[in-house]
């Protein structure tokens, strides 16, 4: 850093405040964010050793953990570690589906909230949106399990009206999982889009309408291009969070479909192999970041738009 800046910084903040800020931010950025990630990365390249052997002659760097994810155990008859890779791919696809589902579900309401003139009704709507978000993640998943269970409300309802004869297993078919995940991140999709659309000048829409643009045309040519930063910010958050979700898959996931985070969880808890789990976590993180950056590049949106 150049000296002039540091001098200016301390002149503006004073010695005490200046150092206080630097220490707090330094602690956050270095000790809480960067070093743990680096140490996880470092750990993922190590052998799985009992604590006394750490730092000993066997504690060398290895690619073993990543090889395991791709090729499976050494005596694996197949060319690739099909089970884990399939779980990974399925997680990413499912997260994409959840993101699209949320976008379709939330865009109209975000547009409606952003363009209406305010007032008591609107405020109540916003309140109703926020309330489910403050309910515990586990409890939200639990609610969906009650609804979609064999003797859940939906099954009872369908049986009552004779639409089906035997209870439909929503949990096994992952309907419950998608509904629960989509539900969990609705707010994260609505608010970024809402914030952007709120600042859209209503005259633009009026002008487009006056010049004869149809309803779909207005959205395609005026609203969506304007709301793009909000849409991509919402999609990024929903995608990352649903790919990294753990509670909903554990509670709502079918017995045959694992989520990638559940594999990581197993390596850490029942497996007890931390380096292997770290390697899986690194893969999840890196792939998610790559996907998000690619999508952001495609839609020409900056990182600075996130969190607005």
């Amino acid at each position: 850093m150049n000296k002039g800046f540091m001098q200016e910084y301390f002149r503006r903040n004073g010695q005490f405040m200046g150092w206080g800020l630097l220490i707090a931010v330094g602690f956050w950025v270095i000790v809480l964010i960067i070093l743990p990630q680096i140490s996880m990365l470092d750990f993922s390249f190590r052998n799985h050793l009992p604590p006394p052997e750490m730092g000993g002659p066997k504690d060398v760097y290895t690619l073993k953990n990543y090889q395991y994810l791709i090729f499976g155990a050494e005596n694996n008859p197949e060319a690739y570690n099909r089970v884990d890779l399939m779980v990974f791919v399925r997680t990413l696809i499912a997260a994409t589906c959840v993101t699209i589902l949320d976008l379709v579900l939330c865009y109209p309401i975000a547009y409606y909230l952003g363009q209406s003139k305010g007032g008591g009704f609107l405020r109540i709507l916003v309140l109703l949106l926020i309330i489910p978000y403050w309910i515990n993640e586990i409890l939200r998943a639990f609610a969906f399990r009650i609804i979609f269970g064999d003797s859940g409300v939906i099954n009872e309802f369908l049986l009552l009206f004779g639409i089906i004869d035997t209870p439909f297993d929503f949990i096994r078919e992952n309907v419950a999982l998608y509904a629960g995940l989509g539900y969990a991140y609705i707010l994260l999709m609505i608010f970024p889009i809402y914030n952007v659309i709120e600042s859209l000048d209503r005259n633009q829409i009026e002008a487009a309408r006056d010049m004869g643009a149809s309803w779909t045309m207005i959205h395609r040519r005026v609203v969506i291009p304007y709301a793009k930063p909000g849409i991509s910010s919402g999609c990024t958050m929903v995608f990352m969070l649903s790919a990294g979700a753990l509670a909903a898959p554990q509670i709502l996931g079918g017995p045959s479909s694992l989520w990638f985070t559940q594999l990581i969880y197993q390596w850490f808890n029942s497996g007890g192999n931390w380096p292997q789990g770290s390697a899986y976590a690194v893969v999840l993180l890196v792939v998610c970041i790559i996907i998000v950056l690619t999508v952001m590049r495609l839609f020409k949106v900056n990182m600075g738009d996130i969190g607005k």
């Binding site: 743990p36 109209p108 008591g120 309910i135 009650i146 409300v153 539900y183 609705i186 993180l285």
Partner: protein, 431 residues
Amino acid sequence: MKTESTLIRVGLAIYLLMFFTYLLGPLILMGITAFNSASFPQVTPWEVLTFEWFHVLFNDKRILNGLKNSFIVGFFTVILSVAIGLAGALMLTQIWPRIRATYYTIIIAPILIPGVVLGISTLVFWDRINVMLGFSDDSFLHNGIFLTVLGHSTFISSYCMLVFVARLQRYDVGLTEAALDLGATHVQAFRKIQLPFLMPAVGSAAVLAFLASFENYNTTTFTFQKYPTLTIELAQKVRYGINPSISALAFIIVCLTVFFALVHEVRTRRAQLAIANGAPVGAVKGGFEMPKFFAGNPAAAVLALFIAGAVATIAISQVYDPEPAKAILLKEKRAEQKKRIEALQERLRAKRLQKQFKGPDIFGSGQSKVPQPPSKTPFGNVFDPGNLGGTDPNAKPKDAKTPESPGKGTFGDVFNPGSLETTTGTGDDKQ
């Protein structure tokens, strides 16, 4: 043109209705299950209105312990994240422009990093530090609360930072400069000028931080060690056996959330109304202007209704005794059970007759379908499972299903979703 706009309007109304059904329906249904006496959380079939699940909840030691840990973690997380978030936001306003974008990316990243990754990296990092320093396994670096607080603060600080950035955008730096010109030290200028301006943001950041910490699962599940928080306890309960006492907890949490949201709404609305009417904010804070106050403030009306509902519920729970209704239900169930058993016996008997008549009598199979009075059969004591099983091997699998073995079904076994039938069996046995 006009029909089109009506169409859009109707479509919008339907959409809004469906959207909010999706949003609130699950929570409402979950709340209802807390009052159903069935031992599995369900709305249908409705059994008896009961408040027993709240008693079960309040006597659950693990839940209470989790609640305590959650509060401890939440408290420290709030302090740490609000301080760090404030520092991060202040730094953002004056950092060297060239590294500003990088800095922003780094401090916003924890929001996007999956929670499991944050938990793992925190755990691995402090474990490494612990090994490096040569501490034992039970040093404070391995303490569940310490790790959980740090793991939470990593990303909750980012939330707080965003809250402060929004508020700081409206801050006039000239105020601080004026204070400094007038001879205040930097600390004084911060404490007397900038901090009071930021106070509302501190409040909302603290609430946000506490709630985010309280409901976090993904990060905590890797860092809690010996101090499970409420969320962890809940997750284990939900994963290994569902029970309506969780619905009771959810009901309480939903009610508290709604209550505080409404209180907040009423207060902001009141301040707005006051300002709109040209009155100073302080003037309306005292009195409680009834009719006018309600007219412009739907939230207040809802709040009043809500409180009335809560009071009524508590009053009912004190007076109401579900036992008589339960007894009736038990009787009904028992009658149904008996009917089912009799039907089963009938079927068994028919089968046995069929077997007996097979071969020698070709008309026997037709005859055996005719129900016969039980006294005529040699198998009078059908209630003894061993008896049935011994005589007819075909009956065995069905017999296992009948709830006649009272040994298994104690009332303590309410966690078992299938215990509904066995419970009735015990009731039978008691009489």
